[in-house]
Symmetry: C2
Subunit: 215 residues, 2 copies
Amino acid sequence: MTDAPSERTRVKRYNWLAKYDTETIYAILDAMPHCHVAFIHQGKPVVTPTMQWRDGDRIYWHGSSAGRLMQTVEAHDVCICVSLLDGLVLARSAYNYNLNHRSVMIFGVGQRVTDPDEKLAQLKRYVNHIVPNQWNRLRPVTDKELKATTVMSMSLAEASAKVRTGHPEDDAEDYSFPVWAGIVPVSLTISPPIADPRNIPGVEMPDDVLKFRIG
Amino acid sequence: MTDAPSERTRVKRYNWLAKYDTETIYAILDAMPHCHVAFIHQGKPVVTPTMQWRDGDRIYWHGSSAGRLMQTVEAHDVCICVSLLDGLVLARSAYNYNLNHRSVMIFGVGQRVTDPDEKLAQLKRYVNHIVPNQWNRLRPVTDKELKATTVMSMSLAEASAKVRTGHPEDDAEDYSFPVWAGIVPVSLTISPPIADPRNIPGVEMPDDVLKFRIG
């Protein structure tokens, strides 16, 4: 196991579940576009759900240029959490109840993507990460839309992951206690796409839509 | 639509998706035990995934008494987000891409549950909320375990919800653009429980385990 990249990144609770290698961290980020971004607004903590994507050793997210999130996080401390629920762990004691999960926590400072070409390239990356090649099929983005959209990024240097899998870890003496123990797997499932009834006649769904993966 | 309970609770972005009625807010909290708690630790924002449950007009969560989360949030500002991903909304422009989702954001101040009876009652409520009647089947909780566990609560007075459903909302002129639009539904799925191979012979799974619901 590699070491934590910084003291605040070092996992303290359930630290035997901690992973600091980029392979694990990147795999979790790439599996789950949904994330929670925490920041301080007017002295108080705020956490907002949004979508994230990764490019190399940086995480990206976007939002309305007029929004609280985007106006607050530039050059300010941010904490982002990406987490996936994989199952319920039914132990023999309430104390050892747990969740199977994969999560990544990242500390850093939000940085606005100011270069117009890079901004466009990142938005394209985001759209195509969800549905391959989709960017070029869409109605082209306008200057007004680009202006109204802010893209933020943050280094992944201070990231840590936690991964829990498998059966309960009960206290040794509890294994003889007569209660059923085990896991209830939970996963995100994608259902077949549903066409917008307002689609123009003859437009077919690209196969790439079926390549959307989550979890 | 009822009004926002406070200025900071008023939804600004996509405010037409906002809901402030307790029925909507409670339904989302009760559907999804997984949440993200944001707080300020040593001047910086931190967001941690954990499990939540509700009792009336308060939200509860628990953790290690020795943990950063529990030691930091008592009598301090907290923001909790509970969110469920319901689908990907593939619009005709990148700008109108969206997610179908249900989310609740709560602002408040963390309050430690200090009364031992109330603490025990809340932990029991949490366990039985996940699997009905499970608390009484488990190896009884010990005083040491209770001491090591902190239960926090927060008022739901400053809560707001956002709910997005259905097909893309494209700009009027984009509906004639020749690209497939629609939604890709996403949902959390529960798979059949898997017994711990270390279960003692003859112990059967209670039917209540099959009552576990999420999403």
